[in-house]
Amino acid sequence: MNVKIIVRGKAQGSLLVAKNPINFLGGIDKKSGLVHDKKHDLFGKSIGNKILVFPFGVGSSVGAYTIYSLKYNNCAPLAMICLKADLTTASGCAISNIPLVVAGKNDYDLLRENNQVTLDAIAGKIL
């Protein structure tokens, strides 16, 4: 499928799919990558070393630094695929050099938990 590139790069790995938007500042533990917002559908799971699929980011803009911290602590996602790229996620990924793409609604709905994919965010494709 074709995707829009926000931050260039390539990644290969399995998908972790969140139903709810993600508040990086309030909802994710920056040292472990664990989701610690009890109201979130990924509560208790780690977003590290996965290709993270989620609708968009919400909440305080400081969440961009949380993404940078995750990278610094080696527990960042390999790449992110969103339905809508919010500014916090885009800037956090840009500074952390994490590939970020936006998928169209129909393609996005085809992304399934644990699927192995190759994300080419230079050509703008997910294989």
Partner: protein, 384 residues
């Protein structure tokens, strides 16, 4: 995105790595928000100052950056983790203090105005109507768009930083007048109103709205309610501005039931060990109100009150500082409720506050329970 020749060159690193990083960030954000170009901005307000929020990664990043980076436009900053003047009275570990000092030094080296406040709109002169700014603090961005006549997106920490370094921002979203026009109206149906009701209205609106939302049935807001509305909205969603009055398009009611659902989500305790006032920080008007409400009364438990340092002199001159201290209030400058290490879950189980934003971050980041109630109720129930 179309870039000028100079912008392309900066992006390619021809003006050094700092500007290349700044332009890479602006371009990623621009692509994300369908911007067609970069435009000049006059004022950047940065978030990501508290060591608790940016951690070692942020500290190191800023330390590296500050070696040769200098801000190009007026740049102000959000609160940090504590007040250097009173930090010795709190049991904070030296490492935290040292890390916070490093962050403070990095920003000051790059040329920031050391405001350490989340209410820049209250403590600085506001530029003329329609001026583009880049505000990363969510309540400040919403306030700037909705009350101050400025134009900003709800910037991220890095997009505002990139704007401070370049004097540019992607021209997208709320910088476009068509996007600023709301297509959803929320009808305020709750009759009895205070700053807490408006905070919950904001929290509700943030969850359901896109970039902009219209609020009908809302008028005569005092400063406390305005700020609470902006902060609540900034906490729950991506919405960056509101207008007053009904607009064409979809209408949703915010009634007692909806409000109760929000209250149930944020209020997790019927009492608290400690009171915090200020998220956003209290400005001079709110401090004056508070001093008046506290006349002849005293807090029955610790109460931390967060303000910008910019109003410290005025508060003292007007007698507010004395009145609040007499009532047992602890005044803290340069910091705020949200993610402050001064609220430690080893010492307190639950916190009383009137701030919807504070409630959200106290629960999710400080891991304490929250007793959420209006300032009027706090004064009635927690002072004698």
């Amino acid at each position: 995105m179309e870039l000028t020749k100079e912008e392309e060159e900066a992006l390619d690193g021809k003006q050094g790595e700092t500007l290349a990083l700044a332009y890479r960030t602006l371009v990623a954000i621009g692509e994300a928000s369908n911007a067609d170009r970069l435009i000049p901005i006059e004022w950047a307000h940065l978030s990501g100052v508290n060591y608790n929020t940016i951690g070692d990664a942020g500290k190191e990043f800023l330390s590296q950056l500050s070696k040769d980076a200098r801000f190009k436009v007026k740049t102000t900053v959000n609160p940090m983790g504590f007040d250097f003047d009173s930090v010795s009275q709190y049991k904070l570990d030296d490492k935290f203090i040292e890390n916070q000092r490093s962050i403070k030094n990095s920003y000051e080296k790059m040329g920031v105005i050391p405001s350490y406040s989340c209410i820049p709109y209250e403590i600085f002169d506001v530029p003329k109507q329609g001026t583009h700014v880049s505000f990363a603090e969510s309540n400040a961005a919403i306030y700037a768009n909705s009350f101050s006549g400025l134009k900003t997106n709800k910037e991220g920490a890095f997009s505002a930083l990139a704007s401070a370094l370049t004097g540019k921002s992607p021209c997208s979203d709320l910088r476009d007048d068509d996007v600023r026009k709301p297509n959803l109206t929320i009808r305020m149906k709750v009759e009895s109103r205070d700053e807490l009701t408006y905070g919950m209205l904001g929290y509700f609106a943030g969850k359901v709205a896109g970039s902009s939302v219209a609020l009908s049935g809302v008028n005569n807001l005092d400063k406390r309610s305005c700020k609470s509305l902006c902060a609540g909205m900034g906490t729950s969603g991506a919405c960056g501005m509101f207008t007053f009055g009904e607009e064409e398009g979809e209408k949703i009611d915010f009634d007692k039931n909806e409000m109760q659902k929000i209250h149930d989500e944020l209020n997790t305790s019927e009492k608290g060990d400690l009171i915090t006032l200020g998220s956003p920080q209290l400005g001079i008007e709110e401090i004056g109100d508070l001093a008046l409400m506290l006349k002849g009364r005293s807090f029955q438990k610790r109460c931390m009150i967060f303000c910008p340092r910019a109003i410290k002199g005025q508060m003292t001159d007007l007698g507010y500082t004395n009145e609040i201290k007499r009532a047992g209030g602890e005044l803290l400058y340069d910091c705020c409720t949200c993610l402050s290490p001064l609220v430690d879950n080893k010492e307190v189980d639950s916190v009383v506050t009137n701030s919807v934003k504070g409630a959200y971050y106290l629960r999710t980041s400080n891991n304490v329970d929250v007793n959420l109630k209006s300032l009027k109720r706090i004064v009635e129930e927690e002072t004698k």
